[in-house]
Amino acid sequence: MLLLKDIYTFYGHIEAIKGIDIYVNKGEIVCLIGSNGAGKSTALMTISGVLKSKTGSITFEGEEIHRMLPHRIVAKGISQVPEGRRIFPKLTVRENLEMGAYTKSSKLRVKSEKLKRQYDKVYEMFPVLKEREKQMGGTLSGGEQQMLAIGRALMSKPKLLLLDEPSLGLAPIFVGKIFKTIKELNAKGLTILLVEQNARAALKLAHRGYVMESGRIVKEGEGKKLLHAPDIKRAYLGE
């Protein structure tokens, strides 16, 4: 479904990614683990088109997307929940979701019957968003913001969801809820590429995983195999 080939991305003057190859099959959860500054977020931003690779190619469903602008890539069916959630603080919860549906709504109006079902789905998944519909995004707690961020990304009905550190800085009860949500979304057919520092939880969830170190992929394989690999245990699982 998604194929990254020989990707080199600079972040400012720093060579953040030094030639990586990643593929994601339809229906999979693939996780990208590694320490801070390994280039995981840069990889997601490169897929989304915010950062551009110097070489190589990215294809999504057989189509080259690495020269497209970010908004075109969203329209192709790739949605990202970036690190830090990036809720629009001065837009209401509802308006945040409306912006998520930007590519799906008609030119003039943000309401339509088709979209209504999508709002209902998101509200069903996260009832708290319905309660806080008219509140400003900035007034939500961290966990609620993460739910809003995921809900917002789902509004464009993506085929592939990129999640960057969804559990970072959340209270333990929310972490469990977020991982459960990821599993449920995948069960409903959504393909997911997950970046996580919480390597144990991510590897348990994922079908396959990649380990990144200073801009390179150093290991890849099935989630469960990586979970039991001695060097991974030592470096990322603290055993």
Binding site: V50, P70, P82, F88, L91, M99, T103, V110, S156
Partner: protein, 296 residues
């Protein structure tokens, strides 16, 4: 006398407010002070004269003067929108990733270019706005207000209100607010940033054109250099109200107009252009982000 000056101030204030909206919208989205914006207002005034002239030649003014004026407003706004759109594409967009000072210098360059361009094509002397509309004076409680003043006040309030509704309620308006808050996130949701920025310039320039033509009708004279001082004052109005805020721009415009007209009659009219900045300095000392500015 006092209330008369307030009425006059509100009239001028409405014009400042319309220009200030363009500054505040562009700043809200790009954090750029678009110094060429005052020149758009000046071009709007000239275009008003040109279109009224054309309509006089083809005989439309004989048929219906209000229609000729309305069409001139619309055409002038459309042409100025095209100017604004083109300026952004040529002078600011290529510098979007450059340090913040670069587009600012580019804006000053565009401003100087447009002034000289109009001076060369239209001449350096004042142009007269054709006196085709008879304004009647309305008297009440010892106050005099002309129909033109009423027209200016209502138009500026109406356009500000419409803009506010547009930004709060429509899809593109909401996207403008989203882009102003976080450009990268907005693009990750499928919002075409370039399109939103273009829309911002188109709307702001159209409003400036309306302001320019209203001033040309009000004072009757237009000069290639009017954009400079009006632009700086409208910018002061935008900062006064809180740059980035649409109601703020309107409030700032009206306060500036009223203060200016009161001070000119009670203190000294020689310093008329300086009062705007005295007020600006006082308010910014008390409220550094302006009256309705976003606290961070």
């Amino acid at each position: 006398m006092f209330f008369q000056q307030i009425l006059n101030g509100v009239t001028v204030g409405g014009v400042y407010a319309l220009i200030a909206l363009g500054y505040t919208m562009v700043y809200g989205i790009l954090e750029l002070i678009n110094f060429a914006h005052g020149e758009i207002y000046m071009i709007g005034a000239y275009l008003g004269i040109i279109f009224i002239g054309i309509f006089t030649v083809i005989g439309l003014t004989q048929y219906s003067i209000p229609l000729a004026i309305l069409l001139s407003f619309i055409l002038s706004a459309l042409f100025c929108s095209a100017y604004g759109f083109t300026i952004e594409k040529l002078a600011y967009k290529p510098l979007r990733k450059a340090p913040r000072l670069s587009p600012l210098i580019s804006a000053i360059g565009v401003s100087i270019f447009l002034q000289n361009y109009v001076m060369l094509t239209q001449g350096a002397t004042d142009k007269v706005f054709p006196h085709i509309l008879e304004t009647t004076k309305i008297e009440f409680f010892n106050l005099t207000i002309t129909t033109l003043q009423v027209f200016i006040i209502i138009t500026s309030l109406l356009l500000t209100g419409l803009l506010h509704l547009y930004v709060m309620k429509t899809k593109t308006g909401k996207a403008m607010r989203a882009v102003a808050q976080d450009k990268v996130m907005a693009s990750l949701l499928g919002i075409n940033i370039d399109r939103i920025i273009s829309v911002t310039f188109i709307i702001g320039s159209g409003l400036a054109a309306v302001a320019g033509m209203m001033v040309a009708m009000y004072y009757g004279l237009v000069n290639y250099s009017i954009g400079y001082i009006a632009g700086i004052k409208a910018f002061a109005a935008a900062v006064l109200g809180g740059i980035g805020s649409i109601p703020g721009a309107m409030l700032g415009g009206f306060i500036l107009g009223i203060v200016e007209s009161l001070a000119a009659s009670y203190l000294s009219s020689e310093y008329k252009d300086a009062y705007a900045f005295v007020i600006l300095i006082i308010i910014l000392l008390i409220k550094p982000r302006g009256l309705l500015g976003k606290s961070q």
